[in-house]
Symmetry: C2
Subunit: 419 residues, 2 copies
Amino acid sequence: MELTERRKRALGPAYELFYETPAHLVRGQGVWLWDADGRKYLDCYNNVASVGHCHPDVVAALAGQAATLNTHTRYLHENVIELSEKIASKMPGDLSVCMFVCTGTEANDLATRIARTVTGHKGMLASEFSYHGNSTLVYTLSTADSDERPDWLALFEAPCSYHLAFEGKNLLDGYVGSVRNAIGDLQNRGQQPAAIIIDSIFDCPGTIEAPPGYFPQVFKTVRDAGGLVIVDEVQAGYCRTGNHWWGFQHDSAVPDIVTLGKPMGGGHPLAGVVTTPDIAARFAASSDYFNTFGGNPVSAAVGKAVIDVIDAEGVLENVTRVGAHTRAGLQQLKNQYDIIGDVRGRGLFLSVELVKDRDSKVPAASTARKMADLMKDEGVLISTHGRYENTLKIRPPMVFSKENADQLLAALDVCLGRL
Amino acid sequence: MELTERRKRALGPAYELFYETPAHLVRGQGVWLWDADGRKYLDCYNNVASVGHCHPDVVAALAGQAATLNTHTRYLHENVIELSEKIASKMPGDLSVCMFVCTGTEANDLATRIARTVTGHKGMLASEFSYHGNSTLVYTLSTADSDERPDWLALFEAPCSYHLAFEGKNLLDGYVGSVRNAIGDLQNRGQQPAAIIIDSIFDCPGTIEAPPGYFPQVFKTVRDAGGLVIVDEVQAGYCRTGNHWWGFQHDSAVPDIVTLGKPMGGGHPLAGVVTTPDIAARFAASSDYFNTFGGNPVSAAVGKAVIDVIDAEGVLENVTRVGAHTRAGLQQLKNQYDIIGDVRGRGLFLSVELVKDRDSKVPAASTARKMADLMKDEGVLISTHGRYENTLKIRPPMVFSKENADQLLAALDVCLGRL
C-alpha cells in the first residue's frame, strides 16, 4: 500500500501533512534535509531542530545518557539540577526555579495551574488568534483553533501594526486598552484574572512584534488587577529572536512565569516552566508536582547539550547577524514585489505577509500556499501561517548562515517572479 | 552546595523525593540500578524501564534515529506508521487507529477531548482515588489528588474486594451499581456522560483487580447512557499484567478508546491514544490534531524497538511466569506475617497491603513507608501507594527473572521480620 494511504489508515484523518505533494524526509544534518529520492532541501521552517538537525553533541548527549541511566525526578540526579541552573543563568531577575515537562502544551497548562493556585483567581487573558497548545485547557487558550469562550476567558488584540484593530488611537494606547477592556470583561462576569498568557512575539497571527513600551504597560495593567504574567517563549525563546535569549527581553519588563518548549531539546520532547522562588513556594504550599518523563536524566542531558552548543558556537550572535541580513533581504524583495504587504519579525523568526493589493491589504492566502509549494520545488522548505493564512513563515534552525539566507532569498525571488 | 539543597533551589519545593535518605542513582542495566557510592539495587519499582534499564536495542534505535532525522508528523515518515501498525496488531477488535503524544497525561487529555467531541456530551465518570495525569483537565479526573468536583464529573467506587464499599450486596452488583449511580448523578445535574475513564487495574487506590464480569457490565452501562469507554492502560498495558498485552483483556469487553504511556518508550517520552476508525473519523470531522514531538521519527523508532524486544525476548511469557511465582511468594509471606492484610495484582503489577489488624483492616501506613526504606537498605527498591498509603508497590522492569523475584521475596522476609 502507498505510504500516504497506509498513514491515513494507521493515524486516522485528524493528522495533516504539509504541501500539496507531501515531503517524505529521511535524513537531516545542520540546516539540510533529504527526501527519500535523495533530493536536498534547505530547511527554513523547523525551529525545533534549534541548533541544526542531528547536531553531533546533542545526539551524543542523548545516546550517552540513554545508555547509562534513565529514571525520573524522584531520585536525585545532577542533570536536572544542572539544566535548571543553566536556564536560570540565562534568565533576568528572579526567574530561577524550573519545573520540567515534555511539551509546550504541558508547560502552558502547568503555568496556568500555578497562576490559578497562587492568585486564587480563575480568569485568563489570551490574545485573539493565539496558539498555546492542545490540552483541553490550553486548547481553550488557543483562540485561533478553539471557538470555546468560557466565562473565565477574555480576549485581547495582539498589537499588530499592519492590520490595525483600532482607529484614531495611537498603537500603544489602543492595544494596551484592549488588555484593559479584556480585564473589564472578566470582571463584569464576576471573574478575576489569574494571569495573562502572552507570546513575546505573537506567532500564530503572523509574527507580530509588540511596539516598544507595550509589554511594561500590559504587565503593569494585569498585575494591578491581581493577575500574574505568563510569557510563552515556546516559539520565541532560546535566542530565536536575536540579541537576547528570550523574546521578552526586547523590552524592559520581566514576567512572573515563562514557558519553554520546542527548541529546548533540539527535537527531544522537553519543555519547562520557569518562575520565581516566591511563586514556586506559594504553588508548592498546596500542590506537589511530578511528571513521569519531565526532567529525566536523558531529557536533562539533551537540554544541557543544546544550551552548551548555543554558547560554544555563538548561536545567539549568529541569529542576530544572519537574522538582520535575512530581514534586509526580505525588505529588498518587498521593494521589488507588490504582493509583499509586510515583512515582520526579529532574528530568525520572520514572516512575509502576502496581499492582493497594498492599499486594501486583502490577504493572498492561496498564493501563500502556492509559494510554499513552489519553494519546495526550488529545494527550500518554508510554510504558511497567520490570521488570514497569507503569511510565509520563516524560522530556520538557528545555525543558518548568511549563505543559507542568500539561497532562501534567491529562491523567494525566483518563486515570486513565477506567480 | 549539597545536591539536595541545590535541587531544592533549582526545582523549587513542589518536587518530592523518594525515601527518607534519597537515592542518588547514576547507572542502570536490566533490573539493576547503581547509586553514586557504587551500591547495587534490584529495581522492583520502575515500570517505565519496561524492558529493563538501558536495553541495548532500545538505546540503539534511539541513538541511530536521532543521528539520522528527527522532525514531526507533518512530513511523511515510515516510523510513525509502522509503530501504529505494530500497536494495532496487538489490539483486539477495531482498535486500529493511533494518535501519538508525549505523556500519559496528554493521552488521557486527548482521549477526553475525543470522547467529548464525538458524543457532544461533557460529563465524565472517574473512579474514587484515581490518578490519570496532571494537565488541568486530567488533574480533575485524578480524584486521589484533586479535590475539585465540577458538575460534569461524577465518581464511582473502584471494585475493591478487600475494603468493601457496600454492604449486603454481591461485589458485581454493588460496584456496577456505583457506576450506574454516578451516571444518575451526572444526569441529575443536567449532564450526559461523554465517557468513563477507567484503569484496567485500578492502580492508585492500591492495585485493585476488577471481578470477572465487571468490565462488560460497566461498559454496557456507560454505552447505554450514550458515553464512550476510555480504558487507561498507561500503567497496566504492554504486557505488565501477564497473559495478555492489555489489562482489559483479562475480561471480554473491548473499550472504545485506549490510552498508553509509561512503558511505551522504555523511558523515552512517548504515549498514545488508540481508537476505532469510526471514532477517529468522527473526531477528525471537527478537529485536526498535531503534537510537535508526538510520534516524531525518533520517538516512533524507540516505540517500535520496545515492541520488538517484548516479542523477541518473550517478555509477555516472562511476566506471566515470573508474576505468578512472585505472587505465590507474596501469598506465602502473608501466611507468615499477620501485618500483610492482602496481596493483589496480576503479572508483575503487584501490591501488598499492610494492616495493623486483619479483622479491623486498620491501615499500617507508617509501617509501609518504613518497609520501603528498610528494603532500600537491603538493596531492593520498592515504593508505597494506595488509598490508605499502606500498600507496598511492586512493579519491576518486565525482564525480572525468577531469581530476581526470589531476591525480592527474601528481602521482604528479612524486613518484615525486623518490624
